[in-house]
């Protein structure tokens, strides 16, 4: 059973792809919880929605390639622009003019794009564990070769399109293990693994290829255009996206950085109370 069910939900079709969204609560301002990489769907916000919805209007949606949304096979369907336009389409369908954006990991790229290119729709932006490509990948990830055929890949080598065709569950298990470096995270690991297995290796590979067009310079240009209030939070024990990434985004956007000492890549699921309070505090400031 969920702690809270949506007050309304729906499907918006954009560019031939169905996008499933949910809306909770009635408060002002609205908070748009953005999708991240399609390995998870909108349920990864389950620890935020019931609390935030008591104070704000909360809208979330399954990113294309995940959950109840469509799974286009063409990598071009997963561009940053596509996710950003999905977000606008969802806001329109849910009757939301302007919103505070909350994004995690790769979702940060889409939030940056919305902030920079659609400032009239954005009140502020909270970036969690950003994967905005501002700094080189973690040392242990440098063994990644996405399109090479690797015999018996181990560790981050399993981040590989060929491997995902045959051993997608093994990859999900590995990856989710790296997401949660905090001890005693079994429930979070089970949750995210389960969501990950709801999609498939081909879809995830298509979504991943779309990233190839992004780079540090593009992110920096977007970040420099931000005019809205910003908050960045990043865990020091993040083993997917380095803590330096959060620092770089904070300095690039001029926003404050909340260092989550001891936290991994998905602090909103592992340390929901602190993250909820930070989001609430941020949105309250917007509300004034």
């Amino acid at each position: 059973m969920r702690a809270r069910y949506p007050d309304s939900d729906g499907i918006v079709v954009r560019d031939g792809v169905e996008i499933r969204y949910e809306r909770y609560g009635n408060g002002w301002p609205a908070i748009l919880l953005l999708p991240t990489w399609s390995i998870v769907h909108s349920r990864h916000w389950k620890m935020q929605v019931p609390y935030l919805a008591r104070h704000f209007t909360v809208v979330c949606f399954d990113g294309r390639g995940s959950g109840g949304s469509g799974r286009p096979a063409d990598p071009s369907a997963y561009s940053d622009a596509a996710f950003a336009l999905d977000a606008l389409a969802v806001m329109d369908a849910a009757g939301i003019g302007r919103a505070v954006l909350v994004s995690v990991s790769r979702g940060v790229l889409w939030a940056l794009r919305l902030c920079a290119e659609h400032p009239d729709r954005v009140l502020g932006s909270v970036f969690i564990a950003p994967g905005a490509l501002l700094v080189p990948p973690l040392a242990e990830r440098r063994v990644q070769r996405f399109d090479e055929v690797i015999d018996d890949p181990v560790g981050w080598q399993t981040y590989n399109a060929h491997y995902w065709k045959t051993h997608y569950p093994e990859f999900v298990t590995f990856f989710v293990g790296r997401m949660f470096t905090e001890p005693h995270s079994t429930k979070q690991i089970e949750d995210v693994t389960g969501w990950g297995l709801e999609t498939d290796g081909e879809t995830l590979a298509a979504a991943d290829r779309a990233l190839e067009g992004s780079d540090a310079a593009a992110t920096r240009r977007l970040a420099a255009r931000l005019a809205c209030p910003v908050l960045v939070m990043h865990g020091t024990q993040d083993a997917v996206r380095s803590y330096a990434e959060g620092k770089a985004l904070a300095s690039g956007t001029g926003g404050p950085l909340v260092t989550l000492a001891g936290a991994g890549h998905f602090p909103h699921t592992r340390d929901p109370v602190q993250v909820n309070l930070l989001i609430k505090q941020f949105a309250d400031r917007i509300r004034r």
């Binding site: 908050l231 404050p256 989550l260």
Partner: protein, 574 residues
């Protein structure tokens, strides 16, 4: 002794009237604190200035008619335009371009004028118990105010607010004593009462009459229009038991300005004096929200990742504390080697700590000196401990605010306070601020009146003891462990003030506990008769020849938990 002296003092002069101001600190943004002069002056902010000045530039002014300002006796001198021009001149002289305004009672209309007419100078307005006529006044003030200029025979109560009565011998003083008795309905407000009466007597009846007749504050639609012209963020604090200004006025002011309203339940008309911790925090939050300072770079450490930490406070009054506390700390570290202990301490305790290689928290530098205060109290005559402690009120609240910041940022598991009177008092007054487990150590419990103190001091010590007992009775979870350091023979048999029966009726809302009577802070309105003449206290001089003996002694005593068993619980309000 003041908890903090101004960094700069000055006087502005307009049309021959001199108005004094003081500047504290140099942080951004600036706060201009506007008192309801001339009935009070800049010192009325003493409980909040030292802690605010650590963050902000704080400007206080005495306002024309009192304090170190001139006292013109013509009503025209007190017109709103004159007062607001003074305030602008003060801001100019202090070099303040943009400021937050904090105004009390009838200073709020001046602040509204400033905010409406000079929006470029005002970043926000925090109004405390506003006297803004956007809702009806208290009924008990209507008839007396109608007869303000009439000759009234032998006025009592609010009818003493009368120009002829104020001109009579002793009339003004009698009014002031009545008025501030009304404004402090909170039990145990004797110090605030004495302070505010004293400040009110810094001016004279003629200045007060001139101000009252020249005030010309807008009312009704005019007042509403003024409120609507204010564009800056507004926050209104209003005591639910304010007998000067009805809460309806604060509520309406908040509505008209689109501001926030914070009702302080159980508070009277002087919350910045009686609840300085809460008011300081509300002012800080208000300014921080507007400037965005509350969203600065911070680190939050996951609970399981934090080292075990203790914050140790050791009273600087008497070096015996430092030695026994070092011994206790060493024993704690022996039992829990991973424990990190920080000390929030001041001279001369720090001398002992440095010699022992203990870790002194850097915020210790912000502590106002308790030992200097005691030395100043003892200068030239015998030290009167109880009165010295009472007069240390602004130092205690200033130091508590330092402590609270340290304990919130440091995420301490344990607070150990050896006669940390500030922590014990203000955590009971603001129980939601408690952090970590709290160990309270003390050499003595309760106050004894000095024989030469007379009935007044007997009343005061009873009142202080009663407040402490009510504190721990109501919030037993504030002290997780209360350790009396001493011996059985140190405890004087008796009571904490005996069974006092009040005669006559105190002001409405004064709570009474059977056995201990809590009356008006106004001594002349309530007569007290001690039915049990023996006064209880427990005092000892702690001494030890070695730190080891100290640890042993402290350890032995730790089984003695003091509980207020003699006093029945106060019945819950239905």
């Amino acid at each position: 002794m003041r908890a903090r002296l101004p960094d700069r003092e000055g006087v502005v002069q307009r049309d021959g009237v001199r108005v004094a101001f003081e500047v504290f600190g140099q942080g951004e943004p600036a706060l201009l604190l506007i008192p309801a002069s001339p009935i009070t002056h800049a010192r009325s902010w003493k409980g909040i200035v030292p802690s605010l000045a650590r963050r902000f530039t704080v400007v206080t002014t005495d306002g024309r008619g009192t304090g170190r300002s001139d006292r013109p006796h013509t009503p025209e001198c007190y017109a709103p335009a004159e007062v607001t021009a003074d305030l602008l001149a003060v801001l100019d002289a202090a070099g303040i371009d943009l400021t937050f305004l904090v105004a009390h009672c009838h200073a709020v209309p001046w602040a509204l004028c400033l905010a409406a007419d000079h929006p470029e100078r005002v970043a926000g307005l925090l109004a405390i118990d506003p006297a803004v006529a956007v809702a009806p006044p208290h009924p008990h003030t209507v008839e007396p105010d109608r007869r303000w200029a009439d000759v009234v025979d032998a006025p009592v109560g609010w009818s003493m607010r009368n120009r002829h009565f104020w001109r009579q011998d002793g009339g003004y003083r009698e009014w002031i004593e009545f008025f501030f008795g009304q404004q402090l309905p909170e039990p145990h407000s004797t110090k605030q009462y004495e302070d505010t009466v004293g400040w009110a007597l810094d001016t004279d009846a003629e200045a007060m009459i001139a101000e009252r007749e020249g005030r010309a504050a807008p009312a009704g639609r005019e007042a509403e229009a003024l409120c609507r012209r204010v564009r800056c963020p507004v926050c209104v604090l209003h005591g639910s038991d304010d007998r000067c200004q009805p809460v309806a006025r604060g509520r309406r002011l908040a509505e008209l300005t689109g501001g926030d309203l914070v009702v302080l339940e159980g508070a009277g008309h002087l919350p910045h004096g009686r609840d300085p911790v809460k008011v300081t925090r509300l002012i800080t939050e208000f300014a921080d929200k507007i400037t965005g300072a509350s969203m600065h770079a911070t680190t939050w450490t996951r609970g399981p990742c934090r080292p075990a930490r203790a914050l140790y406070l050791s009273s600087p009054i008497g070096l015996g504390h430092a030695r026994r506390d070092v011994a206790v700390a060493k024993e704690l570290k022996r039992l829990r080697p991973e424990l990190e202990i920080d000390w929030l301490a001041q001279h001369p305790v720090t001398t002992v700590l440095e010699a022992e290689g203990e870790r002194i928290h850097p915020a210790s530098q912000w502590l106002a000196s308790e030992s200097a205060h005691v030395a100043s109290e003892a200068a030239g005559h015998d030290l009167h401990c109880f009165q010295a402690l009472r007069r240390m009120d602004e130092i205690l609240v200033a130091n508590f605010m330092v402590f609270q910041e340290v304990v919130e940022e440091g995420r301490y598991d344990l607070v150990s306070g050896d006669e940390a009177w500030d922590v014990d008092y203000y955590w009971h007054e603001n129980p939601e601020l408690k952090r970590g487990q709290n160990v309270w150590l003390t050499d003595f419990v309760g106050y004894l009146p000095m024989p030469d103190g007379g009935e007044r001091e007997a009343f005061l010590t009873t009142d202080y003891n009663a407040e402490m007992i009510e504190h721990i009775d109501r919030y037993p979870w504030i002290r997780d462990r209360a350790i009396f350091v001493g011996n059985d023979e140190d405890i004087v048999p008796g009571t904490f003030g005996g069974t006092c029966q009040p005669s006559g009726t105190g002001p409405r809302g004064i709570s009474r506990t059977p056995g201990i009577s809590l009356a008006s802070p106004h001594p002349s309105r309530t007569r007290w008769r001690r039915s049990v003449p023996s006064w209880g206290t427990a005092m000892t001089n702690w001494s030890a020849s070695s730190p080891l003996a100290a640890a042993e002694s402290a350890g032995r005593s730790s089984t003695r938990l003091w509980r207020p068993t003699r006093w029945p619980r106060r019945p819950c309000p239905s």
